[in-house]
């Protein structure tokens, strides 16, 4: 199947190095300490952060750090066919773990000992790149909750089909069976916190694809930073400053 046609356009009309449209909104769940909705094209994800609060399970309490917990769940209607078991299948457990480790690395947990931070991510629509959208949404939600972090974490995925590196795969391109590289970075510190890949790639192609994904992450970071600045201006305005 042809994922990049001879003119250089992909199945949804994008160029190979073009990301899908980004849209985000902060503060959607009023009950949560911080929440955000993040959309990358048709993939739509809600993240809610509850914390820092008292540890529910005393045996998990750490005396000099905060405990970070994460749960990833997909809504029944998020994929094309109706899913039967949205929670606790192996994929959800794995992605929960990945998000938790990524966010834990950037939260300054030593500032909040003996407490717990819960990150809940709910996928409303899945069209490829859910992992990245979840991490981006979680970053925004943590920022909205005012939890101290080393830097924003942004994530993006890239692949390699028809001998072309492609940025930000959607579901059809993802299920083509080609390699899929997901990268999460701390943009200001210029460090990689998450790197995952399926299938196989020769070394030099891998370097190109990873570099492409990092560029995508930086673009997401710019968008997120702008959004947070805008949000802060709004808050200032409402406070009458």
């Amino acid at each position: 199947m042809e994922y990049v046609n001879p003119e250089g356009l992909r199945l949804d009309g994008r160029r190979p190095l073009e990301m899908r449209q980004l849209r985000a909104e902060i503060g959607v769940v009023s009950r949560a300490d911080g929440s955000a909705v993040f959309e990358m094209g048709n993939t739509k994800v809600i993240a809610a952060v509850y914390g820092p609060r008292e540890v529910q399970n005393k045996s998990q309490q750490i005396n000099d750090q905060a405990v970070v917990r994460c749960e990833y769940s997909m809504a029944n209607f998020s994929t094309g066919d109706r899913m039967r078991k949205p929670k606790h299948d192996r994929r959800s457990t794995e992605i929960s773990l990945v998000i938790r480790q990524t966010m834990e690395a950037c939260i300054l947990t030593h500032l909040m000992p003996r407490s717990q931070i819960d990150i809940f991510v709910q996928v409303l629509q899945a069209d490829g790149g859910t992992r990245s959208a979840c991490i981006n949404a979680a970053t925004l939600a943590l920022a909205d909750a005012g939890i101290p972090m080393r830097d924003l974490v942004t994530s993006c995925a890239a692949g390699y089909l028809n001998s072309t590196p492609l940025l930000d795969l959607n579901y059809v391109e993802d299920s083509a069976g080609g390699p899929d590289v997901t990268v999460g970075i701390l943009p200001k510190l210029d460090k990689v916190t998450l790197l995952q890949m399926d299938a196989k790639l020769p070394m030099d192609t891998f370097e190109t694809v990873m570099q492409l994904a990092i560029e995508g992450c930086k673009a997401v970071a710019n968008y997120i930073r702008e959004l947070l600045l805008e949000n802060t201006k709004q808050l200032e305005f409402r406070r009458g400053v």
Binding site: V28, N76, Q122, L124
Partner: protein
């Protein structure tokens, strides 16, 4: 949610007695309702409804299936509600299952009527394609995104909005031998809009002290002695009733609550319909 102090509890109860609730509403006033349709493009119909801070999303997926042998001329409708942990940290893992099943059953009772399908809000026989062989299976999924009380009303409103947004593709049945499964051809072009005038709205009356309030927030719900959720349709007939909450109620009080609910349901149904129409108009503006 952090527990309420004794002073806060008195404040809530006293406010309700004086017809002035904590957010300034009167006893029988709803929070601002916001409806948005077609939020999930992959589903046949979907809607997102906000009652103040309570936000729920409902989606309708239609698949072809076989009718059950006891009712060969009716389609099937399955309602399932999921409580997302984003709404409440307690819903993490299996914590939200009890509430989900309670809400699913209450919705099924109110919208689907008796076992034979009589009195149902949704006309099941309109879902049948070939009697005894093929029918539409509607899977209605509700997702609670943010919970601040009055989940049942919000879910019912979301289901109503998503059903009015549902478009079932037209089916062409090619003739086949009588015993075999007939071939069906789903048209991509033409769609049938779902008829939603019969779908009831659910009105939940929460009893706090001696008075009833409409559209309780979760703080008010924590102070309730009991609640009655009445499902009333446009003709003013009661399609379902569920009593929640532990305290006992005098039967005359129940009669009273039912009549109050019927009286209020009219304005609720009108309000919902106008919001749904506005949402669909908004959706059509954006091509």
């Amino acid at each position: 949610m952090v527990g309420l102090s004794v002073g806060e509890k008195h404040f809530i109860k006293g406010g309700i007695e004086q017809n002035l609730r904590t957010d300034g509403r009167k006893r029988y006033t709803y929070r601002p309702i916001y409806v948005e349709t077609a939020v999930i493009p992959q589903a046949n119909g979907s809607a997102r409804v906000k009652f103040g801070a309570t936000e729920v999303i409902a989606s309708v997926k239609a698949e072809l299936g076989k009718p059950s042998p006891s009712y060969p001329d009716k389609g099937k409708v399955l309602i399932h509600v999921d409580c997302s942990p984003t709404a409440e940290p307690a819903f993490e893992g299996r914590g939200g299952e009890e509430l989900s099943s309670e809400l699913s059953v209450a919705l099924q009772r109110c919208l689907l009527g008796g076992k034979s399908g009589a009195g149902a809000g949704i006309d099941l026989s309109s879902l049948s394609i070939v009697e005894g062989k093929i029918c539409w299976d509607l899977y209605i999924e509700g997702l609670v995104v943010s919970s601040d009380g009055n989940l049942l009303d919000a879910l019912a409103a979301a289901i109503k909005a998503s059903l009015s947004n549902t478009a079932l593709p037209k089916v062409q049945v090619s003739s086949a031998a009588s015993d075999e499964q007939p071939e069906v051809d789903l048209s991509d072009e033409e769609f049938l809009q779902f008829d939603t005038c019969g779908i009831p709205a659910i009105v939940t009356l929460t009893k706090v002290g001696k008075h009833y309030i409409l559209d309780a927030t979760s703080e008010e719900e924590s102070q309730m002695s009991s609640a009655v959720s009445v499902s009333v349709n446009r003709q003013g007939r009661i399609c379902g009733l569920t009593k929640r909450g532990g305290a006992g109620l005098n039967p005359s009080v129940i009669h009273d609550m039912i009549s109050v609910a019927k009286h209020l349901s009219e304005q609720v149904i009108n309000k919902l319909d106008s919001e749904i129409a506005a949402a669909e108009a908004r959706e059509e503006d954006v091509p």
